[in-house]
Subunit: 358 residues, 2 copies
């Protein structure tokens, strides 16, 4: 059921497909690199498995393969960017680059983006800041699948937040998480295995607690981090809301239930209040606060203290955010990326459609 492909093979295939839908060489390369970073880092749901989904969005004219990404409003530390219906995989790195430039000039840079599409994993964009000794922040809104606390309507996406923080000798701290109890990709995995979800992940279409992995498909909803009010779901709902507002109301993108769905076959919402989907990026230069060497020495101290904390029975270490993903990246770069059968079928169809080899 699983076959393993080299990073190089998948990367070149994805780049080839992006070239075939009309991307420039540079943009195809960026899009393939961002897409494949998900597979490399073990977030299989957001990588090459979604390539055909992006192509279908292009087929229904929801993606512009050659966007003119532009700043429509700015101050020394901020910009509002129009993604011109481009792939989020391309728009997001361009917006992060603007934020990095502003941070170089005035200490920090903050960019809100409208008129974009899904941007892959948030973490890879946040990580662009690391090589500049800067903290990177990336977030995006997404198709409405989440019911706020007490709601039976799906009004928010899984709206992820990523924060990448430089360190010294230790691996950098990279947090990247959906603001729901569990991301939709985890439901899909359980569904394939015919397993139930834990409590607190989903509710039915009438708002009853459920453990069916098919619940979201059947009109139910994902739940905000916390699961229910007693366990703090109002906090997950607040986090998802903040991501939505920063990404879309600051920029002029669609928000809440009006965010365009990722699957191209799902009809667009009525009376959309904005343009495309929205992202938000932030970059802070470490030495805008204190010398980078001091900061990194204390980050290393922080990481070592947490990593070496006494653990509960059955666990050997407290996990530092980003470390497991960094380890998977090395492993998969060396030994290849396992791809499940249904995705291989999908990629073969794409290959046939565009008459490229796979």
């Amino acid at each position: 059921m699983l076959s393993t492909y080299s990073y190089q093979q998948l990367f070149l295939f994805a780049k080839n497909i992006f070239l075939h839908i009309g991307c420039t060489e540079t943009n195809a390369l960026t899009a393939a690199k961002v897409l494949l970073s998900a597979d490399l880092r073990g977030v299989d749901s957001h990588g090459i498995a979604r390539l055909s989904g992006y192509v279908r969005l292009w087929e229904v004219n929801r993606v512009n393969a050659n966007p003119t990404i532009s700043i429509v409003h700015e101050t020394p530390s901020t910009a509002t960017v129009d993604g011109d219906k481009g792939l989020g995989l391309i728009v997001a790195p361009a917006a992060m680059q603007i934020a990095i430039g502003k941070a170089k000039n005035v200490g920090t840079g903050w960019v809100s983006v409208k008129n974009s599409n899904h941007f892959g994993i948030a973490g890879i964009h946040a990580m662009m800041a690391l090589e500049h000794d800067m903290i990177g922040i990336a977030m995006t809104n997404a198709s409405p699948l989440v019911a706020p606390t007490f709601s039976i309507e799906r009004l928010l996406g899984t709206n992820p937040i990523a924060v990448a923080i430089p360190s010294g000798n230790e691996a950098p701290f990279v947090a990247d998480f959906a603001t729901t109890t569990a991301a939709n990709g985890k439901l899909e995995i359980l569904q394939r295995k015919n397993l139930d979800t834990p409590t607190g992940w989903v509710q039915t279409s009438t708002g009853e607690p459920s453990t069916s992995a098919a619940e979201v498909k059947n009109g139910g909803a994902l739940l905000p981090l916390g699961g229910d009010k007693e366990h703090g779901s109002h906090k997950g709902y607040m986090l998802g809301s903040i991501v939505d507002i920063f990404s879309a109301i600051l920029s002029g993108a669609n928000y809440g239930p009006w965010v365009p769905p990722f699957p191209a076959y799902v009809p667009m919402p009525q009376n959309m209040p904005g343009e495309g989907i929205g992202h938000f990026f932030g970059v802070m230069r470490i030495d805008a606060f204190r010398p980078a060497a001091d900061f990194k020495a204390h980050m290393d101290n922080w990481i070592c203290r947490f990593k070496n904390a006494k653990t509960v029975a059955g666990e050997t270490t407290v996990v530092i955010p980003g470390e497991p993903e960094a380890a998977i990246e090395i492993e998969r770069m060396n030994n290849g990326i396992p791809i499940i059968g249904s995705v291989i079928t999908d990629l073969k169809e794409l290959a046939a459609k565009f008459q490229v080899t796979f």
Copy 2:
């Protein structure tokens, strides 16, 4: 067991006590206003109930009543502030004012603070931005009571995050939440009532799940938002970590298990790596991204859509963050603030100690 006092009476008493420990008139007024904002907004654990705690910190020379709050490092959009051991109740508004000034100049302002003390509720500081048509962000680290996922050691505080966002005709969006399943104040309330906690709030000192409201007192720990790994506690742990790093590693304050404890009788940690506790503040001018009127119209639309969503059985509305607190504020300003017996005893002792009336 409950007696009700007017806002004015409690405010003047708190101000009087701050004057008696040596605060200037202006600082005493600010400290009392910030402290009482917790009682007004219904966060009883963080208001006048803590007045004697702040005084005890002053008594053991951990609080400087007359701090010289200074910028030790800055760029056009950032500052690192030394709180000079001042009350966080005074240091935080000063730092927010710096952030607001920078936002006026370059679009946003970001301030990391070291050498401070506990600052009351995060929300009131974030809300300082609202009258300027700016988004306000406030966070702080705090005494280590929280065990990261898989840890049995308490390495993080409840590390709250507050985000205040302007709206038009609707009440502003004000999120203010601990990054744990439940704040410590909620445990204290259950303890007084001899009730158990729900699952996922606390663990024992050896990392076993528990529902004892006395667990933290007995060496156990609060749990990050999510409760356990299966329910996303690694996300709450990441959030609490980000707050810790932004507040303390950017500024040079103490972090993780080295954050000074709020109770003055708890010994200070050994080998502390920084100065005092740390905060982090952010301010973004709305019109650094788009005209404020456009933003506010869409915020109103967002709020109305969420507020009017279909609810689960037994609930009448989806709650907009900040609305319940705004309603309590009006109610308590009109009808007074209920204070429990043990806090009244505490305040009477303070009154006797400083020979002021209560």
